[in-house]
Amino acid sequence: MTDALDTALGDLVGDLERHFPYAAALLTGASGVQISDNGAEQSASEVSPSRGVVFTVYDGAAFQEYATSDLDPDQLARAVRAWAGMLTPRAGPPLATSPAAGEANGAPALLHKDFRVTAELDPAAVPLKDKLTHLRDLQQRAKAFDSRIVQAQVRYADTTEDKLYIGRGRHLRQQVIRSSFFILMVVSDGTTTRFHAWIGGGTKGFEIARLSEDDLRQTGETALRLLEAGKIEPGEYDVVADPSISGVIAHESFGHGVELDLFPKGRALSAHYLNQQVAAPSINMFDDPSIPGGYGSYFFDDEGELARPTQILRDGVFVLPISDLGSATFAPGVRTPNGRRQDFSRKTYARMTNTFFSPGTTPPAEIIAGVERGVYLRFAESGMEDPMGWGIQLTAHYGEEIRDGALTGKLYAPVGITGYVPDVLKSVTAVGSDFELVGGATCGKGHKELVPVSSGGPHLRLKARLG
């Protein structure tokens, strides 16, 4: 970005601030590479940069935005002034203030900061040739694992995302490196075809593509074992959830369910349960964009709010929703650093970042040993929220039977988990002492507005309906 553009954005925001209660500009850009290799084919391409700027104005009653990919300072100034000339200040709810930045009286706090992720292996410093060689080696090791592997694919992507926020006295820059790695192993015995995968993602560098021999072997072995997987008998089961399943439960239940933009829409049942017990007392849950290395991490959100953790559930009690500026204004509610947009062409909503249950004290092996008859659910594939009905849907790639406290080796695939959120969360009888955040995935608002997130937690023992 040029100094001329930085200056132009600051001047334009200054002009807008003189006429409206709130004005800001967010400039976004990204660079990076995405690589795939299946042995027969290789590709390496630039990530789609989606560069652009969005100007936001709160006119006193509604938010108005102008977004463009045109970054020429002169063109931009003409367009923004033409757009702003059509807006009129109006009367409406006061703008939400930010308790974390000293704005208790609505006075903007002056803040100039420059943040950046430091990766162990900076993707920009690793030659593309070396990346391709490493990934080809992994692909070939995966393909050679067993003759029944009909396809082994490796995918890697890194993005260096640059953002500049100007507004309310803040001039914030951040550079976030976000990488993901995925290895897919498709197996066939001539009749049945199955797959298993290994996925990782974080605000990390090329180190994300390190895969141990043990991880590769387990991925291949699981894919082969899934050839024998059967269908689970529908019913209610004692369940042990691995951290990926725990994370999706957190994400779909009191993650989506407490996005504050749903409150003024009357869509969040949780609005009626603030400060009430909604989960077992052993459950604590957070959303935290400030976790180093988390796939959903950043230093400030798309509305200039500095990253910090939000505790959503404390000892099973719902204590705080997550918000963006609009929802904190209209709900109204407490501002948290969760204002995110898919890209400059899309609106900001209250969105999750890294969402998780915090660990307890029971070793995972002890959790499984405590189940007489149940299912160990592994590898979350997807989930869907229901913030008003508090239904929950998620799909595990597979589950393994537990009998008399031991895994039997019998697999079921896929396994669907459905239930009523408070029933599921209140049924938790053990919280593992382990903890894992699973990244590399995106989260939608309904079926759109995709943003990178992670979710996770410890192993959990609970009851759920499987099918």
Binding site: E65, A82, P234, R267, G389, G391, H447
Partner: protein
Amino acid sequence: MTLPTHALHASALDPELLAAVASTTPGASDWRIEILHEEEAQLYVIGDHVEARRTVANERARLAVYNDHAPKDPDAGSVARGVTGLTLLAADVADPTHLAARLREAVTVAGLTDNPPFPLPTMPADGYPSVVTVDPVLAGDLAAPLDETMARLEAAVAEQDGVRLSSAELYATRASRSLRNSHGLTAAGRGTGVMLDFVLIASESGREAEMHGEFERRRLADLNVEALIKLYASYARHSLRATAPTTHRGPVVISGAAVAELFNQRLEFGGGPFRLHASAEAAYQHISQFEPGAFISREEPRGDRLTVLSDPLRPFGTQSYAFDAEGLPARRLTIIENGVFTHRWADTRYAAYLGIEATGAFANITIVPGTTPLRALRDVSAGPIYEVSAFSFFNPDPISGDFVVEIKLGYRHDERGTQPIKGGSLSGNLFAAFGDAHFSAETYTDGAYLGPAAIRFGDLSISGS
């Protein structure tokens, strides 16, 4: 509100300029340039209050640069083809030195990857077909039609007893696209689109239930707001009194938006198993389960036989095109006929790899309807029938076709009448299910899917209470 009429550096993203630079870049064996220009108005409403208005202007050029070189593996033939993609904005092309450097860098990247050689498409001898993708209503001010549509929506909701509007989002878009490649292919086209997303809440005796709808169309007139509100208001009211289903194995009817989801999963989630397994790419990568000449259900179907077409020529189809991403002309293609897999869809690359004809990208999906009236599919003379009208999120295993999905709203039909259900899950295998299926004579469309309004499957499982 009118979109600002500022220049988007149209001259800077001039395809002639980009083509000239690409043609003179050393090592660029081939190239493809696509220039996209989009304008969009967005309106967001909470209840009767406007939450936000947005205007968006976005222009970019997407380039694919190819480099032919000796492969790293000496057993891989004499020539390997590498390809890389890059995206350029106006600012990238304003400086000729910078632009030339970006293209040289792209050649270097392409030179690092090895693939079996493949050609690019050439200009079709008969040119491109005429496909209707532009709504004249969206040619001018984009924001005004949004306000008019929102007013209609609010009026339609007001007519529904016990139902209110929670929130709505409306987008109106117009876009233009131009394409050319190093083999002399040139194409240009325009399109429009509208997107409506709304949530209705039904209330009764202190209880509430919501129903969410999301719709995309090319043409504003195809967004029948009044009919959609009436239908989704009834869904919301039914959801209020829905109970959990009982566990069941046997016939299940899937209808409406849910039946379209079986075939037409959103592209951002991979496009779904039918699109995947019918592709030449999946065949080349040894993951397709479809064998030409074989039943997709693996067994001879007992009921109606599935016929599936990819149809880019459908007027105002949301996935209609005159030319696809690489410039292949639109053509209608029968993928599955009477339950038997007949043709793979293929781009130029995978067509070359498999030695088959390039067909162009998969487009709108058309399913030939059956002859059975919908009411007959719900016939309960042989026992209760479950019907699923809305899934929470249909996301089948892309490789096996196995699925487990929560029932967002459905119905149990029995001799006592019809009772709404929700919760629990429906499971089965997407391909095997067509071994015993009956299609309604009535049809449904969601802009991309056009086919039976309901399908009765003989053997699916419901996990309920």
